[in-house]
């Protein structure tokens, strides 16, 4: 007779083991080390919550303090490898295998450890892929998550930074996995139930908030004239003609410039209500002026942003908020929205090759993907039409039958031809290829594939790759906006001029834009202080961004 409840039995054993250190569901912080050793078993698949924003930092440290003689060979399945403790568990031999999505600040160390074979890599995923695999073949046996508060029954309030928590809990708890939450405090009644207590086995009162990185704050003071020029080109050359209303922005300064130009330059072009009305976007502080001047109708968020909590709570017509009034973010749903409900993704990158592949990998760094490849890709399963989607599809295949023609999502790469320290944006070969060779990866870590990208915007102009009919045209269109980089200077001048006549390459003057008009005075806010004032004092930026 088969035992169909072995997982449930195993969960029961873990819960019993954990209860020795708990009072009901509450684990005192002083008992955390012993508790962790009791509930985590050698070989477990563990999801440690943490992405590019929030971190279950107390539980991460506790995990890294386990004795590898007692617990080892863990398989970590987690969105972000961000905190030093995330890699300490491998350094100390507690964990062995890793499947992840984003590494950010640990990108250098993770590369060194991969080279040193300290980590057995499953794969680098996008967020959405990793979430998907939680339900298929990477289901966690233990999830270590973070919330703002809990009641004694384990009901959790995750607050504005809900982010990954619901999907992690869903995948773990309903499949006989153990869910342990760190919370700032235990309360009698949580402000709203984000995670039902039935799904949560234990709660640790950390006594301090979980760590959140203000990743999406861009100081308008640092936006350059060249970035403003690229923003003007994007607005006038792409947003306007395609009528892009539903979109996602990356986190770079170019897109921050776009957000800040909407109420000024965009207004002057008469685009209000015609573009940028619906976003899948974190609450970017630089979006405040556009929201305040009535450009934006709705924003759904992957996560929150430090300091934006009160502002978001005061704008429930724009943001998704709970009955307690604060933001409800959800990374999985927002990724889905970005993939299927947006007509455009626009973001910056570090390298673009002659085919149009782009990557944020530089030698010796593995930053992971996060969500950008999902945002920056054409969803082949999309079936609903929209004006920009149809127009892009028509440009790509003008001769095909309209009723059978797929539309295209606009995937726009925007940047200056030279980045920090004069490093060129355009390269012959992506560093990602070299990295893949050295690490013996099957795939080079490409952020946006050539066949997904539709436009490249630099201060030199816009290359519309939808209009290119062969690989030569594509290469020359890219060279045509590559400026004074080696790639740009090697362009075929005549061919680029022909492409320009066809509108494949459009220079600022072709769009009626004088580069000399790219002035910081066009920005609706020129400092973090301006953003704070524009929010009516509701935006409370972290200390490091203040100059008052």
């Amino acid at each position: 007779m088969n035992d169909w409840g072995m997982q449930r039995t195993a969960l029961g054993e873990r819960v019993t083991a954990g209860q020795r250190y708990a009072k009901g569901k509450i684990v005192p912080i002083l008992s955390l080390p012993a508790f962790m050793e009791a509930v985590i078993r050698t070989g477990d698949r563990v999801c440690l919550e943490g992405d590019n924003q929030k971190q279950a930092d107390i539980l991460a440290s506790a995990l890294a303090e386990l004795d590898p003689r007692e617990v080892c060979d863990l398989h970590m399945v987690q969105s972000g490898v961000v905190l030093p403790a995330h890699l300490d568990v491998f350094e100390k031999g507690i964990a062995r295998r890793l499947d992840f999505s984003y590494s950010g600040p640990q990108s250098g160390r993770i590369a060194r450890m991969l080279f040193g074979r300290k980590i057995e890599l499953g794969a680098v995923h996008t967020y959405l892929e990793l979430f998907a695999r939680y339900f298929i073949d990477l289901t966690p046996q233990v999830a270590l998550i973070a919330a703002v508060s809990a009641d004694k029954d384990g009901n959790l309030y995750t607050g504005p930074n809900t982010e990954d928590t619901p999907i992690v809990v869903e995948a773990t708890s309903y499949k006989n996995g153990l869910v342990v939450a760190q919370v700032t405090e235990i309360v009698d009644k949580v402000p709203r139930v984000d995670i039902p207590g039935d799904l949560v086995h234990f709660v640790v009162e950390a006594g301090k908030p979980f760590y959140v990185e203000p990743l999406f704050t861009r100081d308008p003071a640092a936006i350059t004239e060249t970035q403003i020029l690229t923003a003007m080109l994007a607005i006038k050359g792409i947003y306007a003609p395609y009528g892009v209303r539903r979109l996602n922005h990356g986190i770079g300064f170019n897109t921050a410039a776009i957000e800040l130009l909407l109420p000024t330059y965009g207004e002057r072009l008469g685009l209000k209500g015609k573009v940028c009305t619906h976003f899948a976007l974190n609450p970017h502080p630089t979006l405040i002026p556009a929201i305040e001047s009535g450009w934006v109708e709705q924003v759904h968020c992957f996560g929150s942003e430090v300091g934006m909590e009160d502002y978001v709570a005061a704008r429930p017509d724009i943001f998704f908020t709970g009955p307690d009034g604060s933001l409800r973010s959800n990374r999985a749903f927002c990724q889905m929205a970005g993939l299927y409900a947006c007509d455009m993704f626009i973001g910056s990158t570090l390298q673009i090759d002659l085919k149009g592949h782009s990557s944020t990998v530089t030698t010796n760094r593995i930053a992971g993907f996060g969500g950008a490849p999902n945002m920056g890709s054409d969803p082949r399963g999309r079936r609903h039409p929209s004006e920009p989607w149809l127009k892009a599809g028509a440009e790509a295949a003008p001769d095909s039958s309209p009723a059978l023609r797929r539309g295209r999502k606009l995937v726009v790469q925007i940047g200056e031809t030279f980045g920090d320290r004069n490093v060129p944006l355009f390269v012959e070969h992506l560093d990602a290829l070299e990295l893949a060779r050295e690490l013996e990866l099957d795939l080079a870590p490409v952020m946006v594939y050539s066949d997904d990208v539709t436009h490249i915007v630099t201060e030199e102009g816009i290359a519309n790759l939808l209009l290119c009919r062969n690989s030569d045209e594509r290469e020359q269109a890219i060279r045509g906006v590559a400026g004074y980089t080696d790639i740009g200077r090697a362009r075929d001048l005549k061919m680029v001029e022909r492409l320009r006549e066809r509108g494949v390459v459009r220079r600022p003057e072709d769009l009626g834009i004088d580069p000399l008009d790219a002035d910081r005075r066009l920005l609706a806010a020129r400092s973090i202080k301006d953003l704070m004032l524009a929010s009516g004092g509701l935006y409370r930026p972290p200390g490091r961004f203040r100059n008052w």
Binding site: A221, R520, R521, R526, S527, K529, M532, L533, G537, G543, R544, F545, R546, N547, W548
Partner: protein, 305 residues
Amino acid sequence: MTTVRADAASLSWYEASARQRIDALIDRGSFDEFIGPEQRETSPHLSIFDLPEQFDDGIVIGRGHLDASSVLVAAQEGRFMGGALGEVHGAKLTGLLRAARKLKEDVLILFDTGGVRLQEANAGELAIAEIMRAVIEVRRAGIKVIGLIGGRAGCYGGGSLIAGTCSNLIISEQGRISVSGPEVIETNKGVEEFDSRDRALVWRTMGGKHRYLIGGADMFVDDAALAFREAAIAALQLDRRCDLAVLAAEQERLERRLKRFGHARDAVEVWQSMGIEKPAEIPGLPAEEFLRRAADKRENADDAR
């Protein structure tokens, strides 16, 4: 008399270059530069360090009209070597002040400086001493020396001492006045003494609002060139001396400050003991509301500077 308005609408003082500030401050088209960039009077010392030079060595000096009165103007460029004073930079200002004394023309100094330029530290230090002496000599001749502070580099080091000799100081929230910079204090005394990355701390300790409240500056303006211009016009109307009575009054003023606030650990405590309502809100307030709360509570340095 009709006011000649400068073309200054919406120009941020903090962001503007030295030349843009002068253009916005002075009556349109009235500026006459002395030893302009075409003279190429660059620092003779930067090449020792293989560092780039600037044709005006980071300071623009000359004469212009402010609301139709002739004034001598000096503007430091805070982005070139942090606006730091070197030999040529300093001597241009010294010469301007010496001329002011002879010509009896008021002087505006648009500060934007980290202090002494370390690649020519001795020359810079002496320039500061010479400038301070020249300021006092100018003031004793009945001429006003007005400092305007609101640039990126702030007004640090020796620059802050020069500011301390001026007859009148106009400051914006962005302006900072301090002898030792945040990084210098942190490097020498540790992060416990001063966390230079805590920018809110930097501003509340050294920034324009605090300086205005304790009497370290006389006029508080928005970060807009036009606001600086209007304040400068107003400051030119004031009568300011530099004699025993004034400095004895300053002695009293500074002694009183030590008695009142000498035990405070933080600016908010200082503001609290001044009787400012809701002192913790001060950094976030727009200028108008700040001025309302500061009125009658702030320490006044008129006739005691």
